[in-house]
Structures are given as structure tokens and as C-alpha cells.
Symmetry: D3
Subunit: 208 residues, 6 copies
């Protein structure tokens, strides 16, 4: 009924780093340099180089967008990823982005809280409103209405913020489905990152 | 409660073609040349050029992938788009890709059938199995299991086909959410395309 | 798993027009005269003449009820049919009443909009409220409460209008289930009706 | 939030028996003669005589259809009504047809069992299969497939039996929605009927 | 597919009263003395004496708690049991506690109303609010929020009352699952209790 | 909309250890001795001593039951708690029993896997079958049928094992609802337990 008990990182063939196209390899090595290991998603999706490039470009576009003060912080973006990925039952994204979230926010409990029930997490009412909007995009986007945008505005979010929240949710909705399709396995390293005082080579994180 | 009665094509500002970055404008003009008009998605998403580029690259990667005989046909790919976009209540994608599907398959009734109930559509049992897999990726990917892949294999689908089905569903799951977020409006032209003998300038289609 | 790929109009035996009881044949011929063809529902349900008579009587009672100005228009009644039939996944009713709706409202795009997501359709806020009430009757009638009637009143609907909306939804809930049970196939003619300038013999419509 | 605590039998005006059209009054009096009282549905729906006539004709068509031995018994038809009406949260139909079921089957416990969980009721495996099919028509008719008909055939049901099961479910789906719309109240008499040795004037039942 | 047609009171072995531990037997005999028969739950769960003791202690703690005037009445507690047990499809609890509810409230119709649709029952708006809270604890406790407690306060309920409502719902959520697991059968006696003038030995009730 | 951002461990008053009844205090001190701290559930529920005693007795009855080899292990019991508590969105139980699970199984990744998607966890097919049964008891116990018990037997589970699985699920269904009702906060200590080499005073765990 389910994927076999295995340490395979994907249902599909996973290329050796030496065999992936040079531009992809270069980016993977850069992540490895920064994170200390290669997150499995970068190898698992490299089975299809063209899709890999589009996926990574999309992640960059929504997650690393230059944001002025008052816009979504990097930590808030990860909150959206963790909460909506949990709603989609995506083990890879909850574990890997939970790690990044803990590091960004320096709150070792937060990822576990958001993965189980965002309404019980140690976040602000503004962040709760952000996640309520994200969950609607995730689970019932057809019913999005002016009232949902108005609820964001009450907490000071602009319509551009609403786009950010929605786009992050949408991109990780894609990622969640690909991870579930391929039975993508999170690297063991992610589970502990950000829970204990960080080791020297984990100063910055890149999980997906 | 819902988006105002309007001919606006997006809740968000839509750039003039003259104002979009040159690489994007060039691609949009190419689509216009081929289709006879500019599908609204290309203008609505150009509000964010970086996301536009990633989105279009992803579409290319999953929809225009070179396929050997026996792999998913272009028409079958559009079937997946129409059926799963309907499940997500995405007006833009159902209408625009319904048009493309009618043109590819030369079956003027098929898109409407798939949009309402794929189990009642004029398709083969193999295509029904393809859509059942797509719907599971769309609606309950966390529960994907070996049995789902086995059901595809019974109809001759390979595991690469399964990836194709899943990836198309995942990319349009993203597209559906962005279209619902922005209240994206399909061009009026799409509604009739492929229903009547085609006009000279609609020989090829590009809907999203 | 699903009905075979076929041009059969029902899972059940379909009588020849010559073999149906005279009163039924007479009514069917009148519809044919008006519409230019016999909608399949009139033949498929004629397998059981008594049920046919009750069904047609019920349709007449709720759809052709004489309405004073300000009550539900004929087009609005068809909006209810299309939106709720789509929620029930009923291909026959969405396609046939979509055709009638296009003709009544002279809006070739409206039926497709309502079939995918009524919240995104080109309708008035009053009509959106009407459809929200209809969808609750369709999907969760046990929870109907005074607040639902009050929401209608805010848009000028009377309690008699509420009955109309509910009764149309209820009758087509029956029709949807019978069409799904019998795998009833819409006539090919319906798909194009009202999308292009009408032909002389399609001046009035009757889709059932 | 809900209908007021009241002994009103409908949210809508209920006509006096003297004021209903003669043909309807005659039928109502016949029911009263047989049952000992007038079931409220006959008065509540008489607010709209045309709909009343169609409704009663439909009930007759599906519930009183002459059935050869081996077809659905009168008691089995009432089982379908009770189980599906409970799924729709319809108080009127569960209570009134629960009474009739008890009388037909002479099993005072059966209606309560079916109203809570048909899988735990004192019925045969064949009847359980019948109700499983009815529940699918009630709750997810869009997904009806050959496998559902095959499951019925394994228990000796013909395709005509399948129509009967589906049509009863469909007609009471309509009735359930009208009863919920009007907040129709079951007569107090129904609650006890068939639970204790019957009184002389309740030899035959007619609940809706 | 379902438990066999049988008069067995449990899927599991049921001990003879003579074989249960003395402390349990003593309590069972006390119930029998009061009720006139031994409710099956006391025998079915005695298959595991330790669980039996904890279960009965929990019931006592939440159902027989000394309550000042203005707190939940015994009848109101049974309303919660019947409505939430119906939502869980638990035949045993609906039937046995429906009997107790009828006796406490001296309203022979109330249990059937609550089992089908609590919004249509002959209860006060305050009691409807109580049941709306109970249903949220039963069906979606993860989403419980301050607004739910505030809705109770509007009807004069304290936070201790909220605990009572929630705890009763939680304990019977356990009971419902054990009854469904064991296919526990309600005693035939329960079905009629409180519907007709009571017999001398049924002056007090104990159903679970 | 949700519980305020706070370090309070309950929406309700929490007694001081000195103020709880002696028998309860004694047990709490024993847990503290063993675990190194007092799990919040023992203080939060002590607001109602009688319920506390019944709750703890029930936990003992289902979690510490003497089990012969081949029966559910202590680790497997915790797997059930984590997976079903996640389905109920219960932060307290997922976090506290996740800690215990990690310690019993000596698998630091397992709890996070089960909390997100048990189908992707590093468990045996037998354990997956165990959790599939538990999830049905948790989410749809009304539909439990012989086929579910048969699926367990295929993996060597006895009917007594089925009771264990069901009873653990049922008791924690109660616990989950009480924790959600009271907005119970897990102790910070739990989040890290079992993820890193254990400290001397955490040799045994008791999370509730």
C-alpha cells in the first residue's frame, strides 16, 4: 500500500551529481557549500533537468524576492511553507522547511507547532491571519473572495503581500505533490537542524 | 463576497505589453502570432516578471516535452489539465485549456465532458485510468501508493508516464491557485475555439 | 469502472418514440417541434412512463411557474440548474441547461462560468446570493437556517423566491441523480446551442 | 441560527384543508381515512398545489409500483427512505417513514437502527448491499460506476431493481431538501407508530 | 462488509455476570436494580476489567458531577450525548442515551429529533448553542477558538460549562469508537423507554 | 480567533502542585521523578480531580497493559498515539508522545514522520496496517467492518490486538479533544527529547 521501507530518496532513479548538467551541478554544489549537505530534492528532481530548472527558478522568485521592511519576512515565508505542506501531508517539505524555519526564527519549537496545528503556534495574530489565508489558497482556492483579502488588510497586509502568500502556497502545493509522487525522502540532517545550538557549517540553510 | 462583475482580467494591476521586460514581450508576441490574441494569463502574471519566467519555463517543461509514440499525447496532457482544473474550480484553466483540448483532439464535446465529470467523458479506459491517477495527485497526493502506480501499469503506462501525469497536475495545481488568487479572467475568444470549424488564424493554440 | 465509451444515451433500454404512451409521445413531439430535436432525457426516462409523467409535471411546476416582474427570471432559474448540477457532477443537466441558459440570457460565456465556479461568473451580487442559497440546499440542506433566508432578503428576495430557489435545486438534485444513475448522455446539439448566432429552428429551447 | 422553537409545521403558510383544490383535498382525506391523521407534508406542500400534485405523483410512481415477487418489497423501499433521509439530516422523512417501515416490517427497532448506522442494522447482507448502493446515489452519484451495479447483481438485484433503488433515493433527496427548506415538522403521531401493538385505526400507513 | 445479522451484543467474548470481578459485578447489579435490566455496555466492556473501571469512573465524573442550578442539567448532558453520538454513527449510544434523555426530559420526541438534526429539535436557543459547541468538539476540535467560547457566553454559559460540554463530548467520542469497534448492540428495552407511560421498575435510568 | 500568544499551559486555571489532592500529587511526583519534569497534562487536567483520576486510570489500562511477546510493543502503541493525534490536530499529544516514541523506538526521525504522513514513515508493512486500522477508528469508526479486521489478521494481529489498537485510538481521541478544548501547551522539554543522546535523568518517559 505504501512506499517500501527503504533509504531510497525517491521512487524514481536519482542521478549521480557527476551526471547532472553542469549548470544544475554548479547550483547544487553551491547549496552544499552553504548547507553542509545536498538536500535530496535537488537530486531527486534532477531526474528531469528542465523541470529542475523551472522549479528552482520558481522557488527563487517567490522565496528570495527582495522585500522591503514590513513585507513578509524570510521566517514568515517558511511558516507558510510548513503549515500548508503539513495540510498536504508532504513529509519532505515539512521536515526540510521546518529546519529552515527554526534557523530563521531562532525558535526551536515553532516548526513542530505549525505542522500539527497552526492555530496553537507561538505566533502573532497577524501571522495567524497570514496562515489562515494561505490555508484557504491551499485547500479551497475556488472560494477565495474579497472578504479574505479584507481580513489580511485588517492586519496591515497589502495586496502584494496577499500575492506573496498565495504564490508561496501555490509553488509549495506543486512541490508537495511532486514529493508525494516521488516518495521523496528528507535528509536525516534536517530533523535536528535548528533544535540545538548550530554547528559551524550550518550557518545558512537551503532546504528546497 | 466575490470578485466584482467586471471585465478586468485580474484583481492585480496588469501591465501594458509595452511595459513588460523585452524577453517576456517577445514570447508574448510569439503566442499572439500563433493564437491570434494574447491569452490573459500572460499579461496577468507579467505583474511579476520573475514568476512569469519560472511559470512559463515550467509549462514548457511539462507540456511540450518531446514524447516518443506511446507516451502521453498532447491531447491527453490537456485532458489532465481540464479535469484537474475543474476539480480546483479554476475558470481560467478550464476555459483556456478546454479550447486547446478541443483543437488538439478535434472533439468539440470533450472539454465540457471532462470539466463536469471525467467518468462520463468520451475517452478510453486507459485515459480514464490516467485521469483517476491525476485526480488523486490533485486531491489527495498524501495517500498516493504503489497500488496507484500499479493501476497505471495495467494500462501500459510507465513510471515516466506517471511522473508526467503527476507533474502536469502539480503545475496546474499551482496555476489554478494563482488564477483563483488573482481572479484571472479567460479571454472571451477561448469559449468558442474548437467548437466550430476553425478560422484561418487559429491554427495552433496556446492557452496558458 | 465507468460507463463504456459509447453513443448510447442511457445504461437502460430506450424506447422508440412509436412505442411510448400517446400522451408522452405527444409532449415529446411538441418539444421536438420547438427545439428541433428530442432531448435525450425525454427518451431515456420514458423507460418508465409513470415516472416520466411525474418528472415532467414537476419540471413544469418549478420552471414554468408564472412569475411576476421581480421574481426569478427564466434565465436565473437556469443559472440555478447549471450551478447545482455541476456541483452534483451531472453532465446531462449541465450541458443541456447550459444551452438553455445561453439562449435565455443571450450570454454565450455564462454557462461555462457557472459550471466551473459560480463565484467567478458574470452575474450580479443578487444572483450570487441566489446561487449561494441554492448551493446550500444542494450540498448541506440540513444546516439551512434563518441566516440563509436573511441573506436572501438583503438582496430583495422574498420567502417565495427562497422556495423557488430551493425547489428548483431539489428537483434537479433528483434529475442529476437519475442522469448519473442511467449514465444519460446529452444530445450533441446542446454543446453548441447559444454559442453562435442561432439557427432559425432553435428559437426556443427545452432541455429538461 | 435555526428555526424557532415552535409547533408550526412549516416556515411557510400552511393552507386550511378547506382551502386546498378539490383534487388535492380528496387525496388528503383519503390518506387521513387510512392513517387516522393528515401527515404534515401533505398540508405543508399544498402551499403550492402544482408542486404538490407532481410530488405525490412521483411518490406513487416509485413507492407503489407494482412489484413481482423477488423485487424490492415495500419494507425494503422504506429502508432506503430512512437510511438516505438520515444521511441528508431530514427529520420529517426519517420520523414519518421510520413509522411506516416499522409497520411494514413489523420490526420496531429497525428504523432507529437505519437512521443511525445502516451497517449495524438487523438486515440481510442483500439489504446492506441495497443500502450501500442507495447511499452512493444519495451522496456521490457522480461516481456511480459499473462496479456498483455489479455489486448489486452479486446479491440477485436486476438493473431494474437498481433503477428502483436509485429513483427512490433521488425522489427522497428532493423531499429531504424541501422538508429542510420549509423546516417541515413531523406529526407527533409518527414517533410512536409501529413501536407498540397497533391501534385499530392505524392498520395502514402513509407518511409522505 | 458489516457485522453479521445476529443478536450477539459484541464482536468480542462477553463474560457471564458470575465471572466478572466482584467490584464490577456489584456495580452492574446496582444498575440492574435501578434500570430493570443490564445495559449491554456493562457486559461488553467487562471483557477488559481495567478498562471497564476507568470507563465507568469517567462516565461518573462527567455525567453525575454535582451541578448547581444554572449549570448543565442532566437532560442537557444527555442531549449532548445523543447529538454527538449520532454524528459518530454510534447506534448503542444513540439508542441507550436517547432512552435516558426521554426519561429525564419527559419529552418522548426529543431523542429522535436530536439524532437526526439537532437544529430542528424542540430545544431552546441556549441549548442549540450548547450543541453547536459540542459538535465542534466532536468533529473539528483542532479549530476550537475564542469565538466558540464567546458564543457560549452569549447564552450565559461559563467556561466551566464549556469544559463540561467538551468533556462529555470527548468521553462519548471514546465510547462511540469502542461501541463501533465491538459492534455493541443496544438492549431491545431501550428503544421504547420513555416513549410510553413508564412501567414501575424503570423509574430511573442508566444507559451507559 | 485563536488562543492568545502565551506561555499559559491551559485556557483554564491550573492548580499548584501543593493544592491538588494527595493521591494525585503523589502520582504527579512519581512522574516528575521518572521524567525530570511534570508533563503539563497532569497539571492542566488536575483542575478537575475526578476526571484526572479516570483519565490516568484509562491511560494505564490501555498503554501499560501487560503484553506477551507478539502483542503490540510499547513503541507501537506510541505510534498509534502520534499518528491519530496528528489527524486530530492535537499539539500536546503529538509533541509529548512523539518524545516518548523516539525514546522507546530509539528512532529520532520516526515521530516527525508519523505526524506528517504515516504512509511515508520508516515502519514495517505490519505497522502500516496497524495505523490504517487506527486511522479508521479515529476518523470513520461508523464504517468499521469485518474487512478491516481481516486486513489486520493478514499481518498476524489477533482480535485482542484490534481492541488494543482501537482502545488506544479512542482514549487519545478523548485526550486530543480535551487538549484542544483547554489549549493545552506541551512542555518545552518534550520537543528535543529522544532527538539527541539522552541525559541521565530522562531514562524513562511519561508524557500522558
Amino acid at each position: 500500500m505504501n512506499a517500501p521501507l527503504t533509504s531510497a530518496i525517491s521512487r524514481y532513479p536519482v542521478p549521480q551529481l557527476a551526471d547532472v548538467p553542469a549548470d544544475i551541478r554548479e547550483k547544487i554544489l553551491a547549496v552544499q557549500e552553504k548547507t553542509g549537505f545536498v538536500p535530496n530534492v535537488f537530486l531527486a528532481l534532477a531526474h528531469r533537468p528542465e523541470e529542475w530548472r523551472a522549479f528552482v527558478a520558481y522557488l527563487d522568485a517567490v522565496m528570495n524576492r527582495d522585500t522591503a521592511p514590513g513585507r513578509l519576512s524570510k521566517g514568515e515565508k517558511e511558516m507558510i511553507v510548513v503549515a500548508t505542506s503539513a495540510a498536504n501531508g508532504c513529509l519532505y517539505c515539512v521536515v526540510s522547511h521546518g529546519a529552515i524555519l527554526r534557523i530563521y526564527e531562532k525558535k526551536p519549537l515553532l516548526a513542530d507547532q505549525l505542522a500539527v496545528n497552526y492555530r496553537k503556534a507561538d505566533i502573532t495574530p497577524r501571522q495567524t491571519a497570514m496562515l489562515a489565508f494561505a490555508m484557504k489558497v491551499c485547500l479551497d482556492s475556488a472560494a477565495l473572495a474579497e472578504a479574505d483579502f479584507a481580513a489580511l488588510r485588517e492586519h496591515g497586509f497589502t495586496s502584494e503581500d496577499a500575492w506573496d502568500i498565495g504564490a508561496i502556497t501555490a509553488v509549495f502545493g506543486l512541490s508537495n505533490r511532486m514529493a508525494n509522487l516521488t516518495a521523496m525522502r528528507p535528509n536525516d540532517e534536517f530533523y535536528l537542524m535548528g533544535r540545538v545550538p548550530k554547528s559551524p557549517n550550518a550557518t545558512r540553510a537551503s532546504g528546497a
